[in-house]
Subunit: 161 residues, 4 copies
């Protein structure tokens, strides 16, 4: 029997509570890969998102990132300076991106470059999260970007095999 | 005028509250570099720790890691599964090491290999933290390891210039 | 006396031989930072490129990447399969991006996201290198992207201090 | 049909030519995991090494690292300063470790810490390679360390599922 870790179902529930659905992320995977893999489908993009969300390292990272967002949102942090950095979404914070990068690292160089691109362009659900200034979302948008970028890298490699 | 970020003094205070002093970390830097840099001193090792703790990315990472430890310790987390992983210090969690690695990345390859070594050997203050099972210290020991490894890398490069 | 490592002058000479000038890279730094740092100048962007190119880890990485490009170009590689991958510039190779990433890691999260963006958009000198199919440039364009992204990150952090 | 990439067989052949056998690496995986996974076997350690050596990113990285060692060994490099750094095995070079790290990144935090430990302790085949000063082996020992560390991480995670 394994350790008592988070599961795929836990992460889906957490993301749904934040207003993020698998389909929202799969659409972005599809858009990223369509120019390189013309026969990619939405179904395959969904399947790839699900595979990424089943990996233990990804599950752990999503849980940590969302806990930090929620803790800041609820003004429950002990470190009030950190809480203010997150609530104000200060641009040079950087821990959100480096945490998200640890997901991309597992999926190789295509995941890494796609993440940087998504972070600048902020398409679809990533932009919606980023523009919602009513609540603290510092880690959420980068985590979604990393999941999408990783699923896109996985599609690229599978179509080349 | 810059953003309202954490400072060197904030981080020193946080580490002191956890029972970690600059001298505890400097001793480990000295031990790591003595075989390669015979004329290294404790003073220089202290200065190198202080320089690492002045970098914005390091300050942010220390604040995030310690907030997570304290939040788990106080049973203040919203995600109770994550809280249990941290309180039980489950071995395959991994977010603690990858977060600490983002400090080492700034200081190059010597920091990265020293970190892995410290994580296995757990000398001095790192072992003391790791063996204190009375309170949640999942992120603290890796963060101290990364600070020490980075300061050691900095000493190595400066002595070679 | 330090070890016999490569110098800033060595790297400038290597890049010039590849048709890349400091000004070409500084223009891209300026364009990246202008929206965030309105008073950034070309002079400051040049100075930031020079600072990045003075760092030992960067110098070593540039030397390794350009040696691989030149070795493939001259059909001097022992491993002919690797040589063909480089000469054909196969899209899923990935070692070029991960090597370039090790430069960005030193300069933090802004460097990492800017690199991914530049890799997709390929502006200015990066596009010129990428479209020159007459000779093997697999590592060169990613290395230039990483240098530019790192110099841009450095500008962002300095303006916020 | 996929691109014309290197294969598992290519990498096994390359490593054999360098005097490294799967069993040499599997022994180190076994030694690393025995304290944590008492029922680990040599067969399982071999299988884990083979799985790591089947991954495209690993194959590409091994090919690049060994080409650099061989090129330096044959004094075939265009950049004679880089060639001398490799032939002299200068301690602060660092590109060898960061290249090897890109293998570990795929396998998560246990791979990263094991790599740092192996790099310091240099057990078994890693020590034999490292002490062979008759020929340039700068990248080889780090690549072997990364393969072993990654296979050990894979064993740890599979036994916990």
């Amino acid at each position: 029997m394994g350790s008592n870790f988070g599961t795929y179902e836990d992460v889906i529930k957490l993301l749904n509570e934040e207003g993020v659905k698998i389909e929202d992320m799969a659409t972005l995977v599809y858009d990223l890969q369509k120019p390189y893999v013309p026969n990619v489908t939405i179904e395959e993009s969904c399947e790839s998102i699900k595979s990424v969300l089943s990996k233990r390292e990804v599950i752990n990272t999503v849980m940590v990132g969302l806990e930090l967002d929620r803790s800041a949102r609820a003004r429950r942090m002990e470190n009030k300076k950190l809480e203010k950095i997150l609530v104000d979404d200060q641009g040079l914070f950087g821990v959100d991106e480096v945490l998200a990068y640890t997901i991309c690292n597992i999926y190789g160089s295509i995941a890494l470059t796609n993440f940087g691109y998504l972070d600048k362009i902020k398409p679809g659900i990533i932009g919606i999260i980023n523009n919602n200034h009513e609540r603290c979302n510092v880690f959420l948008d980068d985590i979604i970007g990393a999941i999408v970028a990783s699923a896109a890298s996985r599609v690229a490699h599978r179509h080349d095999e």
